[in-house]
């Protein structure tokens, strides 16, 4: 290592070396073509307002969509249960716990028996 070169010269030499080491063979025409294709797709995509708007954010849109679906299903179940009067019926809870006989199952664990 030599330190007897002026700073400017040394910097220039390092820059030149970095430039030479960073040289890459680029197919500029292909790159330009790809960009123009992407832009064309983008422009056409925006014509469908809903899909076009969400397209760039597909992972976020998918999560948001799923969350909305779950919320909607929960609300629908709640309203339906309320209207049809089975919202407080724990038969459904047991059914959900994979007991097809519900409270009428003779082998039901006494813990689950209904207290009248």
């Amino acid at each position: 290592m030599t330190n007897n070169k002026p700073d400017g010269t040394e910097q220039d030499e390092i820059n030149a070396l970095v430039r030479a080491a960073s040289g890459v063979d680029v197919d500029e025409a292909k790159l330009t073509r790809n960009v123009l294709t992407k832009i064309a797709v983008e422009t056409n995509g925006k014509s469908s307002a809903f899909y076009g708007g969400f397209r760039s954010y597909s992972p976020a849109a998918a999560c948001a969509g799923f969350a909305m679906l779950m919320l909607g299903a929960g609300f629908f179940g709640y309203v339906l249960g309320d209207i049809m009067g089975f919202a407080g019926d724990d038969q459904f809870l047991l059914l959900a716990l994979s007991d097809p006989h519900g409270l009428n199952d003779p082998f039901l664990d006494p813990v689950f028996e209904r207290v009248e």
Partner: protein, 174 residues
Amino acid sequence: MALIARGERQALVSLMTLYQRPMVSVATRYLGRQDEAEEVVQDVFVRVWQNARLYDEKRAKVTTWIYRINVNLCIDRKRKRAFRQFIGLEEMTTEISDPVPNAADHHESRARLNEVRAAIDKLPDRQRMVLLLSAVAELETAAIADAMRISRGAVEQLLVRARRSLKAMTAEDI
């Protein structure tokens, strides 16, 4: 930029002709992979096309603005790759591209250039980016500071460290 904002594709092509080669060089040396670098640069120009209306010439030069997008997308790409490697979707090995010999290789021996490439790849991310923006993109300190959203002092410090490390890592005198 005004022409691009008006939808003139030829203006974008002219801009690409000016900047795409140094941008691919910077991104390739920063990311270590030319295929990823080319994707990043394509995305940069798509962003330029989409956001040309938002460009404010009072705030930054076109070069600075474009390189800022390039830097951001390179960092994003690197983070995504690190995450994919972390969850096992991508192997840890990075393909360090070995460029096709060009005019510069006639002046410097191939082995020497490979040594310099390896040394650049070993630099910390910020030092590497600052050095590449200075040497390859030929940006001034102020422009680099603007593109990387750091102070001029920090750029100068990173440049000094990068050059010192590069010099120490390469065997021969620079």
